[in-house]
């Protein structure tokens, strides 16, 4: 099988973990790769811990089982850490990206890591300053692309803009805000 990358998104109901996986999936398809994007369905309540997933490959993906050992974990809400096992199944060379104002060093010990890399970015603040609301999912896409190099960043921006233009034709400020948020998170994410 060709190289397959699996990503798990952790969030809370209402934060856009599902939308993030779907948007990222569309961006992946926009670059001619194969992908899957799917949420985990359970009791859906605002604020309850939720997960969503991506699979990305240069070749068609036939797997339809759960994602159990993702190479990349994205945490949209830092208060999940300690309540949800966000590093479950993460291999030793895996990557975890957290939306938080704290530096990566704070989490290395807390998460009992075995060599996995930790990156952080204050996506909530970026979202508030650019979009006007705490919706960290789009900026986290920027951080994800920076850290993993899975996609061409400029291409992704162009593609995301096109998608947002379709959806928010009458609200150009939302389009600009989201694009700015993705760019800022791409530039501000730090760690390793």
């Amino acid at each position: 099988m060709a190289k397959l990358t699996e990503i798990r998104w952790h969030g809370r109901g209402g934060q856009g973990a599902k939308t993030a996986a779907l948007l990222f999936g569309e961006a992946v398809l926009g670059q001619g790769k194969y992908m899957q994007a799917f949420p985990e369905y359970g009791p859906e309540r605002m604020g309850a811990p939720v997960q969503s997933f991506n699979r990305i490959s240069d070749e068609p993906i036939t797997l339809h089982c759960h994602v159990t050992s993702p190479q990349v974990v994205v945490v949209l809400d830092p208060t999940l850490i300690g309540n949800v096992d966000v590093t479950q199944g993460l291999p030793n060379d895996g990557i975890i990206i957290i939306n938080t104002e704290q530096p990566p060093s704070k989490f290395r010990e807390m998460l009992h890591l075995n060599g996995q890399k930790v990156y952080t970015v204050d996506a909530s603040r970026i979202a508030r300053e650019t979009i006007g609301r705490d919706i960290p999912n789009t900026p986290m896409m920027g951080a994800l692309v920076k850290v993993t190099g899975l996609l061409d960043f400029q291409e992704m921006l162009k593609d995301t803009r096109k998608k947002l233009e379709k959806k928010f034709r009458s609200k150009p400020e939302i389009i600009e805000g989201n694009i700015k948020a993705i760019e800022r998170a791409y530039n501000e994410v730090k760690g390793g």
Binding site: M1, A21, L22, G25, E26, L29, Y34, M35, Q36, A37, F38, P39, Y41, I61, T62, L63, H64, C65, H66, T68
Partner: protein, 398 residues
Amino acid sequence: MATITKERMALTGNEAVAYVMRQINPDVCAAYPITPATEVMQIFASYVADGLVNTELVTVESEHSAMSATIGAAAAGARAMTATSSQGLALMWEMLYIASGLRLPIVMPMVNRTLSAPINIHCDHSDSMGARDAGWITIFSENSQELYDNIIQAVRIAEHPEVQLPVMVTYDGFIISHAMEPVEVYSDEDIQAFIGEYKPMYSLLDVDHPITVGALDFTDYYFEHKRSQAEAMNNAIPKIEEVARDFERKFGKRYGLFEAYRTDDAELVIVVLGSTAGTTKAVIDDIRQKGVKAGMVKLRVFRPFPAKQIADALANVKAVAVLDRSEGMAGTGGPVYAEVRSALYDCENRPAVIDYIYGLGGRDITLSHITSVYNDLDSIARSGKRPYLCVNYLGVRE
């Protein structure tokens, strides 16, 4: 092959269904929501509201009414569709037999979800297997692309003059219905050209040629009508293949009664339906590199059951495992096992056939589960024995 327009879109299974329903532009659709099929009609209703289709959308008060309205529309000569899942299909049960008995070419996307109790919204095949004797042609889809392509073909199969039967196109709940994958879609014009304008053979609204629908039919003719309905089901096998050949000529994708994956020299074969077939392919590719002669038969058409073709495909195999995503509660394993085992009974060199019930209520089926099935098959093949009625449970806590 004529030049056709294709576009790769990122769609969930439900989105793909709504999208192709817009392209089919049926005359009448009945809509009633049920998880995980609700989105289909929700999205389709937005197409109706936006004037993108000419469909008369009938919002009804239950699935029983949804199927009743679809039957009425189809009897009146309309190209009619509805969609459902699980308890919804169960509530339609009475009307399913009426749709097929009246020989109405209805097409119904059906999301596979388990049946209560206990209540559960996730995937298994209990719902569609429960309808297996209802006289509907039943087609299973591995992924959203197959789903999209199957629904296009279903219109032609249902409306074929020698078939005239309703078709159910199933896909796995959440695993496919809510997962986004790339789907190659075709232009509205190409799909319209493929399905053609619907010219009903009989119509209640054709007052110049009056007919009776649903008349009393006692000991005098009921049997003959059922005999001809069974004949239509038999006819469906070559017609499904004929439509698939036409589809391949136009759209370039090959479909058959089933997909035989790496079976040419296979000794150990899994028979499976739906999304698990994709995971099985990944396991086969992996263990083939280690020298295991593994293959798979993925059933696409479950009704009518292509028994002879399945028997031919499995003729030179040493051991077969059927993966059943429903527990028929028959005491003899799952319904697919019963069919496959029966199909092989008259064959001289029939292989060992064992059954695995798996994935009930959405329980995940992993690569290691499927690998363990091939390991079991390997032991059986080496033993040279044929275990009797060997029914196993895969991934359950006991």
